[in-house]
Amino acid sequence: MSNADFADIPGTVLFDAQQARRGYGLNQFCMSLMNADNRKRFKADEVAYLADWPMSDEQRQAVLDRDMNRCLALGGNVYFLVKIAATDGISVQQMVGRMTGMDEADYRDMMLRGGRPIEGNRYRHEWLQRSGG
């Protein structure tokens, strides 16, 4: 099996060696937030704190924007990125829900009703059909 087999799963980035290399500095920054002092320093001046890490400007902006989907595309991984949510004092559900583009209450309701169904969410082409593409 190659990683190409995963490419037709919609809305999913595989965190492999290539992504890990791309996200190295971004993920390092995230791990630094496992320390209370670092969280305080980050919150006091996000731009200055981010400047200390070997990240691209695109990655820094994605963090400042809290654009987690962009962070994922730029080599981040959710288990690293969740440290940003922790620093912001939001829950994992809030953070994950925001990645779907749904309203917070709608996402919570969807989960209470049993979550996003698997039907229609297995293949990219199912999504393309739905969007009329």
Binding site: M1, N3, D5, F6, I9, P10, G11, T12, V13, L14, F15, D16, A17, A20, G23, Y24, N27, Q28, C30, M31, L33, M34, N35, A36, R39, M68, N69, L72, N77, V78, Y79, F80, V82, K83, I84, A85, A86, T87, S91, V92, Q93, V96, G97, M99, T100, G101, Y107, M110, M111, L112, G114, G115, R116, P117, I118, N121, R122, Y123
Partner: protein
């Protein structure tokens, strides 16, 4: 000689730890979750293990961008609960079992499993939430977990991750190692993580109860079939973080075979949606 008396399987959702730690376990959202573990907690009090091999994955806590072990066994004296960004969970330090861990490492490495030995690591919700679910919160006057725990960390974060088949085989090698340990110990092996969930992108919130129930059925009765599930099927059917289910296969491999060739007894089984973003599953299997 030591023996594997039972195997336990459970999701390890971080929000469960937060609910317990912040006194929200009785809320309507969480009460059914904890109720689902009550029978297992009673069962554990009846026949408490002397040690647990706890298979979990580190969530970018002890292992970061610099180093990713496929399989790592904890051979240390103790492991502190990690600060994952919200502060460390207010639960006891986990005591290890260095002698049994060293024995397992010796046996399993000579059986061609290329473990990483870890003497020091902080442990995250992947390890502490299962302990909370199955032992409850230790009381202040006796603030410790009931028995030593050997952490066994599996990489399910950065691909390539180990195959299901490899995880099942590792469990078998661990059972063989436990059964050759000189001291008479009652050992349980726990497999954690899963069930279906996806924590990224526009497909986040995916839940697949049909896959989850089929997985629990297969794991119980035809583990080789469960072990043959390719990674891409986990990710497609159970979400990008559903891949954690390969860790259940390590524990399943550690189940002693019955003399009559039958499947193990399912002592408890529980399934609930949702716990935060995740479908929660729980099994107890005994020989």
């Amino acid at each position: 000689m030591a023996h594997v008396s039972a195997t336990v399987y459970t999701s390890h959702v971080p929000a469960i730890g937060a609910a317990l730690d912040h006194g929200r376990a009785a809320e309507p959202y969480w009460a059914p979750v904890f109720a689902g573990y009550e029978a297992s907690r009673a069962w554990l009090r009846e026949d408490p293990p002397d040690a647990i091999v706890l298979v979990f994955n580190d969530h970018a806590t002890a292992f970061g961008p610099d180093l990713v072990p496929t399989f790592a066994i904890g051979t240390g004296e103790s492991y502190a609960p990690a600060d994952e960004g919200w502060g460390a969970r207010p639960v006891p330090v986990v005591q290890g079992h260095p002698e049994l861990a060293a024995h397992i490492a010796q046996s399993v490495i000579q059986d061609d499993f290329d473990l990483t030995l870890v003497n020091r690591m902080d442990v995250d919700h992947g390890l502490t939430v299962p302990l909370s679910l199955l032992f409850g919160q230790p009381p202040a006057h006796d603030f410790r977990w009931p028995c030593p725990v050997i952490p066994l960390a599996v990489n399910v974060v950065q691909y390539p991750v180990p195959s299901g088949r490899r995880c099942l085989a590792l469990g078998r090698a661990i059972r063989k190692a436990i059964e050759s340990y000189g001291e008479d110990l009652n050992v349980q092996v726990w497999g954690t993580g899963g069930m279906s969930h996806q924590l990224q992108g526009p497909r986040a919130g995916l839940i697949n109860p049909v896959f989850d129930h089929a997985f629990m059925d297969m794991l119980t009765t035809v583990p080789e079939a469960a072990a043959a599930i390719p990674h891409v099927d986990y990710v497609r059917e159970a979400g990008s973080e559903g891949i954690e289910l390969v860790m259940w296969l390590v524990a399943r491999g550690a189940m002693p075979e019955r003399a009559d060739g039958r499947a193990p007894t399912c002592v408890h089984r529980f399934y609930h949606v949702p716990a935060s973003n995740t479908a929660l599953g729980h099994l107890v299997l005994a020989p």
